[in-house]
Symmetry: C2
Subunit: 302 residues, 2 copies
Amino acid sequence: MKPITIYGVKLPIIEGRCDLAEVIVDSARRQGLEIEDGDIIVITCKIVSKALGLLVRLDEVKPSRRAVRMASRAGCDPRFVELVLRESDDIVAAIPVKRIADEKLIDLYAYSKNPENVRRCLEKYPTLFLVIRDGSLWTDAGLDSSNHPPGVISIPPRDLDGVAKAIRDRIRELTGKDVAVVISDTEVFLTGSLDFARGSYGIEPVERGFGEPDLYGKPKFGGVDAIVHEICSAAALMMRQTARGIPVVIVRGLDYERCECGYRDKVKMSSEGWARILRYIIKETGKVLGLKNLLRMLLEFI
Amino acid sequence: MKPITIYGVKLPIIEGRCDLAEVIVDSARRQGLEIEDGDIIVITCKIVSKALGLLVRLDEVKPSRRAVRMASRAGCDPRFVELVLRESDDIVAAIPVKRIADEKLIDLYAYSKNPENVRRCLEKYPTLFLVIRDGSLWTDAGLDSSNHPPGVISIPPRDLDGVAKAIRDRIRELTGKDVAVVISDTEVFLTGSLDFARGSYGIEPVERGFGEPDLYGKPKFGGVDAIVHEICSAAALMMRQTARGIPVVIVRGLDYERCECGYRDKVKMSSEGWARILRYIIKETGKVLGLKNLLRMLLEFI
């Protein structure tokens, strides 16, 4: 049985707009890695933003009145909140991460080697915004300040499938090899972070095995592996320490279904769709558990 | 830079109680794989249940009145609902997955090769229950009927960290090698499934890098990779097709922090803690977005 191998590709620091596909191919080659047919190239969203020049200087952002008001209530920098508002279609929730950590509901200090750094970090970002952007959920709209000079923020590109396809096509031009490209982004949850695909091209994003017969011929509830997300989490194992400078990973040996399609072509989510799903879940919960139980639960929560 | 390699280990069909560590070591060896120091052994929760004899026959389950009532409202088998109730501390929500699929809010049919199988599957499981079990969220309390004979359900063990430690210790006895063990479980979401760690031993489950200085010396909001979950998603890439019969994966070459600890020792979550976090998020959202916006959003949802 063929193993799956994950290779890290170190890149030079990307200073401004560049041909990212060329940088990746050259860097891999210098590390003794030739790109092969069927490889999956995983690239962090942030390095794509840098290569496309999608960086903003906070001191050039003029916050709106709404941003100033929200920032003062949330304890954040109004210029940062302004950027979140500009880059979001809808704000779903504000997560008081400092309060949650201070009360040890989640012990962020246990996930750190230096409590003073945690304190400084939470002072600067006491609240995370959960938003909808292009039909997906993101915290802080995917804006990212880390590993940028102070006061600089990177913004994820729109149409990340298109970006993935362009890189895929350019790699084919440069090497003659057919690869799939997946663009990954880290999402911080309350109990750790995971990496997710934000765009892809050339790979079926979700396994099409729902209801396939199991070993006993019964239709199986499952068989819908979110392949591209799993690939990003696998890649994160290699990328994880920033100091390593590994924003690109090659996944080799994975037997995947190829397609001329992107993530959005297959995984469609709209704000309206999500709202209806949530409404149905609340209604069904009330119906199945009984109104008394639903009320008790709501009272516990509010 | 050392690559990470993921090896699949085929096991014989586990028919009843057995020494799972021995089966894994023997099976790996037959496939030309000797276990090495530092390997991470990922094992599906279901195969652990089988090896521990945690199987129940539905026709031996007598549903309570509450289970009968809930099942009739949810359209499910009352004996299955009875098992869900027995194995849960709290039921959080009922997810009407058939309705969501029928209305194409999520197009499960697009994730399938055979619409008739999807229909049969959704007839049998029209509703998923989101529950809290031992401080974690599970759908259907982790009960699983697939790849078991008709009418047989497997139940996840309690104390999965303890199970992981026992397998780790036994592998050391058999081979003299120090490994980490992670027990994985698939969770089906509305846009595909991912694998998560439900128990582990010998590996620091979450990267302790919160607030570490970034390339510019600023504390980084992040650095808390949920390593054990990422490992399970990476393993899922190898395990994914049931027909392959790969319930065990060896991850080799990952540079991880060892610890004499399990998942629960580090990632602590209680129902009460979750309830308080949710309450704070709702309150903060109201405060930051303003009451008008919160009400608008709630009205959209209900």
